[in-house]
């Protein structure tokens, strides 16, 4: 069952990369969402899949009775999701600020830090 998920990850990565390569920063942002979700799935798959048995220990037991899903990747994903949220939200704010200050979200037209040679060269 991992293989199917790997395929899904492949598609997500490809789609994410394709979107990120657009000049539109909003597209970049969408690509980023795809890619970070893909990354979370990578962790999930790499920790191996276990169907429908969450890593919970029943009351009164000292340890799980049956094999449960791997908890550590889940914890890693949780951390990564929240971190990802912070980064994505910041990026969104940055896009908004760019639009407000530079009047565009087309990254091809953002040439202030590295002006094209005509005006910037000596």
């Amino acid at each position: 069952m991992e293989s199917a998920l790997v395929l899904v990850i492949g598609v997500m990565v490809a789609a994410g990369v394709y979107l990120m390569l657009a000049a539109n920063l909003l597209c970049y942002l969408f690509g980023l969402i795809l890619l970070s979700n893909a990354a979370n799935l990578v962790i999930f798959v790499a920790g191996r899949l276990t169907r429908a048995v969450p890593p919970l220990i029943p009351k009164g037991q000292e340890a799980p009775l049956e094999p449960v899903a791997n908890a550590l990747p889940q914890a890693m994903i949780l951390t990564a999701i929240v971190i990802g949220f912070g980064l994505l939200a910041f990026t969104l704010a940055l896009v908004v600020a760019c639009y407000r200050e530079l009047g565009t979200i087309d990254s091809d037209h953002m040439r202030l830090a590295e002006p094209p040679p005509k005006s910037g060269e000596h």
Binding site: E2, I9, A15, A52, A71, A89, T104, I105, E114
Partner: protein, 769 residues
């Protein structure tokens, strides 16, 4: 050329200046006396070796080796240094930056002394580079002139590049020998000569020496270095720094010398340099520049003679080093006096100064005679020895002899030009009020000139004490040298007479020769100086081109490059590893699992196909739900809930933002991008392959087991994921909270309406538009 005149009203000398000038005088004087006291011991006993450990890890010691060769050079550096410092003190009196000048000169002296006394390859190199730095600062001393800055840069770059070659050579040499210590290195001739790396080492060391000693084709920096104040020229560019290359080759002679490559290269490069520089010298009308070119001539001759196995040739070289240092320093200082007193050093503007500057004239004449090689000056002995040596050079005696005669003849002409022309003839109107320089200025050149005369009259004073031991040290075997004024009538004397005749002729025909040379120069496409500019320009343009293509400022191309690199390297890694057997594991999935994956799949595809952001957001939402379901189905309810919440929150945020990006969709290139698609697919594929490769290895995780067993008894929690988050790996969680917090404050800082311009504090950053 520029002149520098600092006469007239002088500000009182400050304390700093006094201290520096005192140090500058006391230091070389002390060193000179100390070295003089070592002459006897060094001659009679073995070389003196002393020092301290510096960097034992790298085999670098701060140690010194004093034998005949280093003693001779050390005395030159400190002795001439003392008189130059004395001269400079008067010459630059009142200059606003004189303290810095003294500091640089002091630094240079230190470097030069360390260089010639160093007993370790790396230590030698350290001092070698100190002289480079100090000379850079001194050449650029008149820093407000563009020409001085250019000359300084040129000298720096050429000598530094040579220095790097030298460093490589020294490191290789040390590697072969197994030590950087000179005592061991100098004794390892056979080992080094038979090593496969001998030739590379030789080439690298020669590049170092040739750049420092201004040999063709690296010669042009030296005349340009005349942008430095005249005392500097007198010291660095005649008596000391340029001799560093000579010293290096003499020092390396016992270990690197003697091979055919050594002899031939030194002969040819030296001879060609001497001849060409002599011709170039004839063109100059600036006195200082003419002298500068004759320095190149002298260096060429020295290099030429070091390419010999005959002791007389080496003796000739050693003697000539002394001769040259004395007369050249004296003449430079004379030119400085002329410049200082008249405000010009242009040959055509000068004349008849003999009556106004009688002492200077006498000094100039004495030094000039020594330079021209007239008896009874030391120059004569040097020249006779040179011819004897030239004839003794086994490989190319005729060639070398002719080159020596030719170069010397032109030196005679230039000696006459520099030492006599300005003092003869009619005194121009403008120079009527010129007066003799104060003693502080002429005492130093006088001593230099007198030394040339004294040693010429009594050559025995230096034969056994300085020259002999130096030759011994250079050759690595016991040699005795006898210096005499009169050798009887022999071939060298005949050559001497020929030289004088030719020299007189060249002096007489100088204006015509100059015109001719200028015509040729105009006709030549470029000289090495303009080639330098062109080369530098080409490099700059190349650099600009490189940077324009790599650092072009287009974000999507940056990203494309990164992704391309990643996927290509992943493929390469896969190939290098020999691939893996793909055991694809298509276990049956349930319908709901299929549905969840299909949702993700569809969401991704719609997101790339759609052109309206809102649709994209919705499809991403769908994808998010799909992922959450996958998490849920495979035993991760915590993750599923979080995923759902975060995805929803974020997409709501994006959707709400959209109205503030009204033209969000109106961007260029919205059509299908084939190359990008190709790249995207390859990244997707390679990443998937990586995961598949990882999945081939069965996962054995003691961590998983531990967490499951420890959660309840030790951490008192039944939700293992949560126990990991808040207990087992609480630090991760804490860090993650910090990230989100910073993101929030950072976004707030980014989006907050511009604050009222606050009180400017320090400097405020302006925009760069």
């Amino acid at each position: 050329m520029d002149t520098e005149v600092h006469s007239g009203d002088q500000p009182p000398t400050g304390w700093g200046e006094r201290i520096w000038s005192l140090a500058l005088l006391a230091f070389p004087l002390g060193v000179t006396l100390w070295l003089l006291s070592l002459i006897g011991p060094v001659r009679e006993h073995a070389p003196l070796v002393f020092g301290v450990s510096w960097i034992p890890s790298l085999g670098v010691e701060l140690n010194f080796l004093i034998d005949g060769l280093s003693l001779l050079f050390g005395l030159l550096v400190s002795g001439v240094g003392f008189f130059v410092a004395l001269y400079a003190k008067f010459y630059l009196r009142g200059h606003p930056l004189i303290q810095r000048f003294f500091f640089y000169l002091f630094l240079f002296m230190l470097g030069m002394l360390g260089l010639v006394l160093a007993g370790n390859l790396i230590t030698l190199f350290v001092f070698w580079e100190i002289t480079t730095i100090a000379s850079y600062l001194l050449i650029g001393f008149n820093h407000e002139k563009a020409s001085a800055r250019r000359s300084a840069l040129q000298a720096l770059l050429i000598t530094a590049v040579g220095g790097l070659a030298l460093l490589a050579g020294l490191l290789l040499l040390g590697m072969i020998v197994g030590s950087y210590n000179f005592v061991e290195v100098l004794a390892a001739k056979d080992k080094v000569h038979s090593h496969a790396l001998y030739l590379p080492i030789l080439i690298l060391v020669l590049i170092g020496a040739f750049t420092k000693s201004a040999q063709l084709p690296f010669h042009f920096w030296l005349p340009n270095a005349m942008a430095a104040p005249t005392p500097v020229s007198a010291y660095l560019h005649s008596a000391t720094m340029v001799k560093a290359g000579i010293y290096l080759l003499a020092r390396m002679y016992p270990v690197l010398g003697g091979s055919e490559a050594w002899l031939l290269t030194l002969n040819i490069v030296g001879a060609v340099t001497a001849v060409i520089a002599a011709i170039l010298a004839m063109r100059q009308t600036d006195l200082k520049l003419a002298l500068a070119y004759t320095t190149v001539v002298a260096l060429g001759i020295l290099i030429m003679f070091l390419g010999s196995e005959a002791s007389v040739a080496i003796a000739a070289a050693i003697t000539f080093i002394l001769v040259h240092s004395f007369y050249k320093a004296a003449l430079f200082m004379v030119v400085g006096i002329i410049d200082h007193q008249t405000g010009t050093r242009e040959l055509t503007a000068l004349g008849g100064l003999g009556r106004r500057l009688p002492i200077t004239f006498a000094i100039a004449a004495a030094a000039g005679f020594s330079m021209a090689g007239f008896p009874p000056f030391l120059g004569f002995i040097g020249k006779e020895l040179k011819y004897e040596g030239a004839l003794a050079i086994a490989e190319e005696p005729t060639f070398v002899a002719w080159a020596a005669v030719f170069a010397n003849a032109l030196m005679v002409a230039i000696a006459a030009t520099v030492a006599l022309r300005p003092f003869w003839g009619r005194l121009p109107e403008k120079l009527q009020s010129v007066r003799e320089a104060p003693p502080g200025l002429w005492i130093s050149p006088l001593v230099m000139a007198l030394l040339g005369l004294t040693f010429g009259l009594a050559p025995a004073l230096i034969a056994d004490t300085l020259v002999g031991p130096a030759v011994t040290a250079t050759m690595g075997r016991e040699e005795s040298v006898s210096l005499k004024l009169w050798h009887g009538i022999n071939l060298p004397l005949v050559m001497s007479i020929t030289t004088f005749a030719l020299g007189a002729l060249a002096f007489y025909l100088q204006p015509q020769i100059r015109t001719l040379l200028n015509r040729i120069a105009n006709w030549l496409p470029a000289n090495s100086d303009t080639q330098w500019d062109r080369g530098l320009d080409l490099f700059k343009r190349g650099a600009a081109l490189h940077t324009r293509h790599i650092q072009h400022g287009i974000l999507k191309h940056y990203l494309a490059a990164v992704f391309a690199v990643a996927s290509v390297l992943l493929l390469w890694g896969l190939m290098r590893s020999g691939g893996f057997d793909m055991a694809v594991n298509w276990e049956r999935l349930t319908v709901k699992e299929w549905a969840a994956m299909a949702l993700v799949f569809a969401g991704s595809l719609v997101a790339i196909c759609t052109r309206t952001p809102l649709t994209a957001i919705c499809s991403l939402g769908g994808m998010g739900v799909g992922i959450a379901l996958i998490f849920l189905f495979f035993g991760a309810p915590d993750v599923a809930i979080t995923q759902l919440l975060v995805e929803t929150l974020f997409l709501v945020l994006v959707a709400l933002t959209l109205h503030r990006l009204p033209h969000a969709t109106e961007v260029s290139g919205t059509g299908f991008r084939f190359v990008d698609a190709l790249l995207a697919v390859s990244v997707g594929t390679t990443v998937s392959l990586t995961i598949l490769a990882v999945l081939q290895q069965p996962l054995i995780s003691p961590t998983k087991e531990y967490f499951e067993l420890a959660a309840v008894p030790e951490a008192f929690g039944r939700n293992i994921v949560n126990v990991i988050l808040v207990d087992f790996r609480a630090l991760d969680t804490f860090g993650e909270v910090v990230v989100v917090l910073v993101a929030a404050v950072g976004a707030a800082a980014l989006l907050r309406r511009k604050l009222k311009p606050s009180v400017p504090h320090g400097d405020t950053q302006e925009e760069q538009t």
